[in-house]
Homo-oligomer: 206 residues x 2
């Protein structure tokens, strides 16, 4: 691409650094900002700078927070003996939206993925193991992606917890609510038969 | 979406204002910036602010430029008697990439689109008509989108130019190079037969 302006080119280059945003999309976004009042660009850049410079991570569960200890960890009405282990803050938001979980969380900050150069030491695994050892945790629920990286991370942490006095569980895999059986993959379908639940239980929370 | 942080929420809201970026994508982009060094966010916001505050529009052709008169309008080796009328700077870049055009441009800044609240007065049409009247322009080439809005804009400008002493033309519509005939729409195919060109001409610039 030949740019008529270095300022435009620089802006497009920076926006195109974002994942999933190509040069053409970046140009479209930048030209959009040019057509809007200058305040919109100011609000956008201020919000990003403010977020990047002032955001905190909860010292207990490592989720993104405006405070040193997040609102969930600070909430005494929640069950602090049950920890749900997730990859990132998006998973916390997704589980909170279900309103089915009243324990606390532990955010790993990713999953073990040698291809992306992420090993166990870059995740908050030690902090989780220490919490289980010292805080009288009764149950650890793994809620990681059902992918090779998710399973590897799951197993790695499980090995470190299995000799401790704590129950471990993993979220159920099965047919999505609303899905047709014939389109389910066979591994999922197979597991959903092996780990079938009493019919009466399925009537709860529906 | 329930956010664990107001700073995060505000950043996501601002990014989601961009066209084609939903809340989920915005969250993904913002979390990406959080994982990168703080400088990346700084470079991004600086480039956007710098662009928004300092960019200029060429006083002659209205394209985006770092100078009062853009490099194309300032280039004396180009033909200043031929003007190619386009919607925005992306079209200038696309045509410049072909290296087939040696005239100058006129950027309208959009197309007439009552649905989006864009009327002729928001475009640089008066400036174009004045240029044709006063600068001894010999040909105006319309290179607008082949859509209803593009055709409307084209016709609106044509009406204002038709009594002036200037040749008007429009870029050829036809089958794209590399396209299979059977997949072409019938209007395009029909026009490409009506406006066929001598075979020898098609051998040029190929």
């Amino acid at each position: 691409m030949e740019f008529s302006s270095k300022l435009l080119e620089k802006a497009v280059q920076e926006v195109a650094q974002l994942p999933g945003i190509g040069k053409r999309t970046a140009l479209r976004l930048v030209l959009y900002l040019l057509k809007q009042p200058a305040e919109q660009t100011l609000f956008l850049t201020d919000a990003l700078q403010n977020m990047r410079n002032n955001i905190k991570f909860c010292t207990s569960c490592h989720t993104i927070s405006d405070f040193d200890v997040c609102e969930i960890c600070n909430n005494t009405s929640r069950n602090h003996k049950t920890i749900c282990v997730v990859e990132d803050v998006r998973d916390v938001m997704a589980i909170e939206n279900t309103q089915q979980y009243k324990g606390i969380y532990h955010v790993l900050g990713g999953k073990i993925s040698p291809i992306d150069g992420i090993g166990p030491s870059q995740l908050t695994i030690t902090s989780l193991v220490n919490k289980v050892k010292n805080d009288g945790i009764e149950e650890v629920i793994f809620a990681l992606s059902s992918t090779m990286e998710g399973d590897t991370t799951n197993f790695y942490i499980y090995k470190q917890l299995k000799d401790l006095d704590v129950k471990t569980s993993t979220i159920a895999r099965g047919i999505s609510v609303g899905d047709e059986l014939e389109y389910a993959d066979e591994v999922t379908l197979g597991r959903s038969i092996v780990y079938r639940i009493p019919f009466e239980n399925s009537l709860k929370n529906s």
